[in-house]
Structure formats: C-alpha cells, structure tokens
C-alpha cells in the first residue's frame, strides 16, 4: 500500500519517541481539513451510535462497543496518514474506500491482537507487557503491507522488537493517551469548561455514572490522533531498521541522474 518514498511529505529520519509524537501532532494540525472530513464520516456516526447505546442500554455496553468499533475506526486514519505522507492528491474518499476493502484483513489482525493480549493478561502482567508491544504494529502491517496474517504477525514482532524498549514505551504511551483523553480531557476538563466557561449544567462524572457524553466524546476525539501516532511510530521504526531515509535520498539521486541522462 505504501508507495516508494520518493516524494515523502515528512522528513524521514530515525527520531526519538517523543519527537515522533510531536511530529504526529504537527501532522494532524497541518492536515486538519482532511482529518475533519474523515471524522465527519467515521467518528461522528460512531459517536452518535455509542451515545445512543449509552443512554438507552447503559454505559458498560456503550464502552464495550466503542472499543470494538474504535479498533476498526482507526483504519481510515492510518490509511489517510499514509496517503498524505506518500501520495500526491491523497483524498479522504480513497482512504475510506481502502479501509473498507481491507476490513476483513484488519478484522483478522485485530482478532489475533485481542486474543494475544487477553492471553498475555491472563498469564501475568509480564505476559501483557510482552504481547502488547509485540502486536503493536500488527494493524499497520496488515493494512499497509498487503501480506497475510501469518507473515504480518512475524513482521510485526520483528518491527516491535527491533527496538523493544521503544515498543513498550509507545504501547504504554498510546494506552495512556486514550485514557487521558477519556478521563482527563473528556470527563474532567470538559465538565470544568461546560460549568465555568459556558455556565451550563455539566453531566455527572464518568467515574460515578460509568460514562457521560463528554467522556465518550474524549474517547472518539482521540481515535484519529492515536491512529496517526501509531502510523508515525510504524514509519519511524521502518525508517530506523530499513533505512527509508537512505532509500529516499538514493531514489532522489537516481531520479536526478535519470533526468540528466
């Protein structure tokens, strides 16, 4: 799926984890219009549906369904980020279409990931700390590299353990980002803003009520950003271990030589 990195829209360089986060955030801000359009199609309906579930069937079901849908809702944003980085004339439509086509493959990858994480959690926390990072790039590999699940599993592990410390840190950081988005931004900050800035009645805290429309909003708002961060970590890992930055430079020189000839 990823084109040859000839005209890459970001500077490829092996970066520390925190710099990757900064670059991903800058990337989302730079391409906010693409993200806004994709969110309108993917995130808004998902939010509306899970909010309806929460208010009618209870928040436990709403959170469970949200987590399940979010596992798939990240795919269009992963593809969108990939297309924005590597392709001229990238469009939200092509990212959405691509993710729909790759849905069965992603479903298998996510199912495998879930089984591994549940098994890891059942064993002990060490198991979780092994399987979580080992499966970190499985959705990206399945979506972007067009390979079967068996090969994708091996490849995901190879990418993750090329820099195991970073993989563990990234895995924990992404989990923390999602939790912060729900509890800190979605629940705490949103209620403060509603009460103090807009002077409207804020919903009950998600801690006591089990959920709220603001906490759910925080959860869904984080999905595109987390997907983009994951893509940039994947890109950074491949740059580090496969020398994509070198390839981009060599290809540019090759093209130049061809044009001169």
């Amino acid at each position: 799926m990823i084109a040859q990195p000839m005209q890459v829209r970001v500077v490829l360089r092996a970066r520390p984890v925190l710099d990757v986060v900064d670059l991903a955030l800058r990337f989302v801000a730079e391409h906010w219009s693409f993200y806004a359009r994709a969110m309108l199609v993917v995130i808004v309906p998902a939010y509306a549906f899970t909010l309806w579930l929460g208010t009618t069937h209870g928040w436990a079901l709403a959170w469970a369904v949200s987590i399940l849908i979010a596992a798939f809702a990240q795919a269009p944003f992963t593809l969108l980020a990939s297309k924005l980085v590597f392709e001229h004339g990238a469009s939200v439509r092509s990212a959405l279409g691509g993710s729909l086509r790759l849905l069965p493959r992603l479903a298998v990858a996510r199912f495998t990931q879930m089984i591994a994480i549940v098994l890891g959690a059942a064993m002990c926390s060490i198991g979780l700390l092994y399987f979580g990072p080992a499966m970190l790039f499985l959705p990206e590999v399945a979506l972007l590299e067009g390979i079967g699940i068996g090969t994708a599993l091996t490849r995901s592990q190879r990418l993750a353990f090329a820099s195991a410390g970073d993989a563990v840190m990234v895995w924990l950081m992404l989990a923390a980002a999602s939790l912060c988005s729900v509890f800190l931004l979605g629940d705490y900050v949103s209620r403060l803003v509603l009460e103090n800035l807009f002077e409207v009645t804020a919903p009950e805290s998600a801690f006591s009520a089990g959920g709220s429309y603001t906490a759910l909003l925080g959860f869904w708002a984080a999905v595109p950003i987390v997907a983009t961060m994951r893509f940039f970590f994947y890109l950074n890992t491949r740059t580090r271990i496969e020398g994509w930055d070198i390839q981009a430079r060599f290809l540019a020189l090759m093209l130049r030589a061809r044009e001169a000839a």
């Binding site: 970001v10 925190l18 986060v21 900064d22 955030l25 900050v189 020398g243 070198i246 060599f250 030589a257």
Partner: protein
C-alpha cells in the same frame, strides 16, 4: 500539499549567511520537562510545608509566645507558593536558559534568532503561562504550539523565544574509516578521480554510517540503487555495491589528503574500526 516536507527542524540564517539548524521541541517533550519541573518545585514546597507544619504544632505545644514564629512560617510558605508559581521558571531560564526539567529533557530556551535569552524574555514567556494554561491543562498553549512552525506557545510568541533540543542528542560525526583498506585491485577497477556532489556525499555517508544496522539484504538492495547511476557515470563494473560505495566515498573524500583517516594511507586503523567489507 506542496512545499517543504514536514519536519521539526528549523534553519536560522545569521547576518553572515551562516545557517544553523535547530530541532524544536513540541508539546510531548516539553510536557515531560514541565512534569519534572513541577515535581521539583512542588516537591520542595511540600517538604518545606511539612517542616512548617511540624513547627506550627511544636510552637503550640511550647506555648503562645512561639506562635508568632509559626505565623512567620505560614508567611514563608505563602511566599514559596508564589515563587514556585512565578519565580522558579523566570529565575532558572533567565540565568541558564533552561529550568532543571528542561535540562533533564535536554531542552534549551533561545530567541527565534537562536541567541540565548535574557531575563526580559524569560519573564515575558513565563508571565504568559497564565494565558497558555487556559482553560485548564495548557490547552491554549498546546493548540498555539501546533499552529506555529516553531512549536511556540503564546508566551513564546510574545517573548520571541522557542524551545530547542540540545545538540548532544544528535549524532556526533566520527570519521568514516574504510576497513579493510582498498586493495590495489579494487582501486584499479575504479576511476582515479571521483567527484561527488554534496547531496551524493551526504547520502553515501548516511548509508555508510547506518549500513550495519540494516541487515545484509537491505544493505545490498539500497547500495544497488546508487551504484547503478554512479557506475554509468564513472564506467566501472560492480561486484559488491556496498563496498563500491564505500570505496567511492573514500576516493572522493580522502584522496591526496595528508590528514586522511588511516585507511587512505593503506594501513590498518587503530583499535579495529567496524569493517565496511
């Protein structure tokens, strides 16, 4: 969609037309630095508060004549709270250009021209924390950072400052040594004079520095890409493309130099450098 590729590096050109590159720090790295600063600041405050609390209890136990001392302790505590909020960052950044948290995260505050900041800039950027922190959790600051090329929050924009990552995290250039040295047979197969332009030199150097982390197959695949056009230009046959690139780089960079690395003088390098094969 057009324009320069996105990066966290910025270039600053001096009036003498010397270009310095800085890597600017974004919200994630600055958040880590801020967390360390808050821990130091309020950790110290907490320790002193416990001490003052104990003093307060002790003073009441001794008698009423000591209660004035306890009152002074509370005053000191309030003063410290003020300092933690308003003086800590200004003082550290004014004196050293960075707070202890920024030092831990390898950051430095400089002006947008790349010069060290003074007290005026430090005071301005820290007074405006009050605006950046709104409505809570630096939301305004983070949004402003993401909208500016230099990751500047409101305080930085007003003071004309930015936070950069210090150079020690960047790769320090070690000379590239060809090992084993070029054989007479290898040199005979290559042109006498090799000229590489700056882009080619930089690309080959990057490759030579990283090739051992790539794996043999990937190393070969990458080297093939550049050896082909270079082979057409200099008319040489290629066997091991990676070795050929190393030889060409060696010829272009070190031919005829008295201070060239030992490989250019046909002797083994001291300490056994990594082999370029």
């Amino acid at each position: 969609m057009t324009g320069a590729p996105l990066d966290t590096d910025i270039a600053i050109e001096t009036p003498e037309h010397i270009v310095f590159r800085h890597r600017v720090a974004g919200p994630a790295r600055r958040c880590v630095a801020y967390f360390v600063d808050i821990c130091i600041c309020y950790g110290t405050f907490g320790v002193i508060a416990i001490f003052v609390g104990l003093l307060f209890i002790g003073a009441h136990a001794v008698g009423d004549e000591m209660s004035g001392l306890a009152g002074a302790g509370v005053g000191v505590l309030l003063l410290l709270a003020f300092c933690a909020e308003w003086v800590y960052f200004v003082a550290w950044e004014g004196f050293q250009g960075r707070s202890p948290g920024k030092r831990a995260a390898n950051l430095h505050v400089v002006t947008i021209e790349g010069r060290p900041i003074g007290f005026r800039e430090a005071a301005l950027r820290n007074v405006l924390r009050a605006a950046d922190i709104l409505p809570i959790g630096y939301v305004v600051g983070v949004v402003t950072m993401l909208c500016t090329k230099r990751f500047q929050r409101l305080g930085d924009l007003v003071a004309g400052t930015m936070v950069v990552i210090e150079g020690r995290s960047l790769v320090r250039a070690q000379p590239i040594v060809l090992y084993p040295p070029a054989t007479a047979e290898e040199l005979a197969a290559l042109p006498m004079v090799v000229r590489l332009d700056p882009d080619e030199r930089a690309a080959i150097e990057l490759f030579l520095r990283r090739k051992q982390t790539l794996g043999p197959a990937r190393e070969h695949e990458l080297a093939e890409m550049l050896v082909e056009p270079l082979g057409r230009r200099y008319d040489f046959s290629r066997r091991d493309p990676s070795r050929v690139l190393a030889l060409l780089y060696e010829l272009a960079m070190n031919a005829g130099r008295g201070d060239a690395p030992p490989s250019s003088r046909q002797s083994s390098p001291p300490g056994g450098p990594p082999s370029w094969r």
